[in-house]
Subunit: 311 residues, 2 copies
């Protein structure tokens, strides 16, 4: 079976969106943006032994590779529309492809998206996805919009992914039910697409937490030319992480990558619509160009660890 047969067997889906004029199978996809909309575009690569390891089933690789890309759309408030997939595999492995396809489309089918192209090549295992979403004109939530006095929020809970990694390395012992929960959070993160859409015109800035809250918030602060005060013990964590010693809990909350929750800012007086996940205020935007981490009493503290660096 050659590249084209494999793509057809595993990834070809007829386009059901009228914004897709030509999908998979020509030199290019031909698509059309709806009138009055801008396009949000992102691309991310996941590499074996860098972004996922042997603990991941191919189903989880498929699920997660889409989730981390959708998460970038969520961060600007866009609605997912078109996906391109470039898959590099050392050899044809239909069992692996079946699993990948299952996990990929499980998340894919949550949204009205079309897989419009890409390629399949022989090489070290890696997945590159390029995603395009729609945004009503001028509504993108950018990193550069945070204002002094804005409050800082995160969606759901942070830190479970790093607990899962410690568990996999046998550096932490967890009861089975906790292990299952945190592994699920590492293997199958949820892109906060709906929350992102509802935060358009409400959040003043946003980013998705892929490298760690501290590192990713720094991007907002740099882009907005502001600083932040973070109440570290207000960062929401799971019941699994709550059982861990305080120092580990704080490190995980501040520095765990791979959560794909949103960190966003909003004016103090904002009224939030009903969101599909909980949000928690964890601090506020300040004038001095740094992040100050404080405990419940407002006393500055230092926390071990650092956010993920790509090199």
């Amino acid at each position: 079976m050659n590249e084209f047969d494999l793509i057809e067997k595993y990834f070809f889906r007829p386009a059901f969106q009228d914004n897709v004029i030509v999908g998979n199978g020509d030199d290019c996809a031909v698509v059309k943006a709806p009138a009055g909309y801008e396009l949000a575009m992102s691309m991310d690569t996941l590499i074996s032994d860098v972004h996922f390891d042997n603990s991941f089933s191919s189903e989880n690789v498929g699920y997660k590779s889409l989730a981390v890309n959708l998460s970038d759309l969520a961060a600007v408030g866009a609605s997912p529309a078109w996906v391109m997939l470039s898959l590099s595999l050392p050899a044809i492995d239909e069992k692996w492809l079946q699993g990948f396809q299952k996990g990929f489309f499980e998340h894919f089918n949550d949204y009205p998206m079309t897989l419009i192209g890409g390629d399949l090549t022989r090489g070290p295992l890696s997945i590159t996805l390029q995603v395009t979403g729609f945004l009503p004109q001028g509504s993108a939530i950018l990193r550069s919009g945070a204002n002094v006095g804005d409050l800082i929020y995160v969606t759901h809970e942070l830190g479970d992914a790093v607990l899962a990694l410690h568990y996999l390395k046998k550096e932490k012992i967890l009861i089975d039910s906790d292990a299952k929960k945190v592994l699920q959070r590492l293997w199958r993160p949820t892109a906060r697409i709906k929350a992102g859409q509802l935060l358009r015109n409400i959040a003043s800035s946003a980013i998705d937490i892929s490298d760690g809250l501290y590192g990713d918030l720094t991007h907002i602060l740099n882009a907005s030319h502001v600083g932040a005060k973070i109440f570290v013990d207000q960062i929401p964590v799971s019941t699994c992480l709550e059982k861990q010693p305080k120092e580990f809990r704080r490190m995980a909350a501040l520095h765990s990558g791979d959560s794909y929750e949103l960190c966003f800012t909003a004016s103090k007086n904002i009224l939030f619509p009903e969101l599909p996940c909980k949000i928690t205020c964890i601090g506020e935007i300040t004038e001095d160009l740094q992040i100050k981490i404080v405990d419940a009493a407002g006393i500055p503290i230092s926390v071990m660890g650092e956010s993920y660096a790509h090199y």
Copy 2:
């Protein structure tokens, strides 16, 4: 230097196109298609030791990775607009990056394009590019439009890339000036962007020749439900390839990948505009669903070799 510093140092260019609202540096790029235009989108991965080897300088890798992607836009007649780049490198190697950047932007600057995002990760050397081009509504040249009786054309000359590969493997000896020419064709192919644009509303179908004329023409025939008769000795080849024995010349002309010339079909009565490269008629579209290769006398012949298979 971290990922973000490296991206900023080597790849950040301010957007000068008013269709780019937010370029590099946020979770997504935010762009806007011009009114009345469709978008052509393509994505291709180049992997070290699969798509390029040690004979390539990083400058040539940069040049070629863009060329092969632009070539897909050329095949549908689109005008290049936005590029996303995902680069995976085993380690930070600024000398390599400098070369890559030089070659990449050398080709990039031929067109009014903006590099709107991507990522840089640690991993086996590979490059994924995603390109988006503009097309006046309904003008895409597709693989599916070839009609019985149409003539088949190719741009410029085919076959030099395979001669270059034989030279590099010391299976062919070439004089220095010929070696230089064919290596240049392997390392720095030219995407036929301008020709593709001028062939909109003229060509009935088109494809770019990446795997070999025979294999790529087959995609047109399958999509159009037609066959073809090819006069193999009419396939235009370079003066370097002309010096080779007839069997090798025919094999190279029919099966050499990596030429990135266009193969297209057009009605017999068409009047061509002035194109920026020569075009040669090499055969015609037939009713029977196969490719018949014939010599100058019209006698069917078989030619050794086959087009590139991705697995």
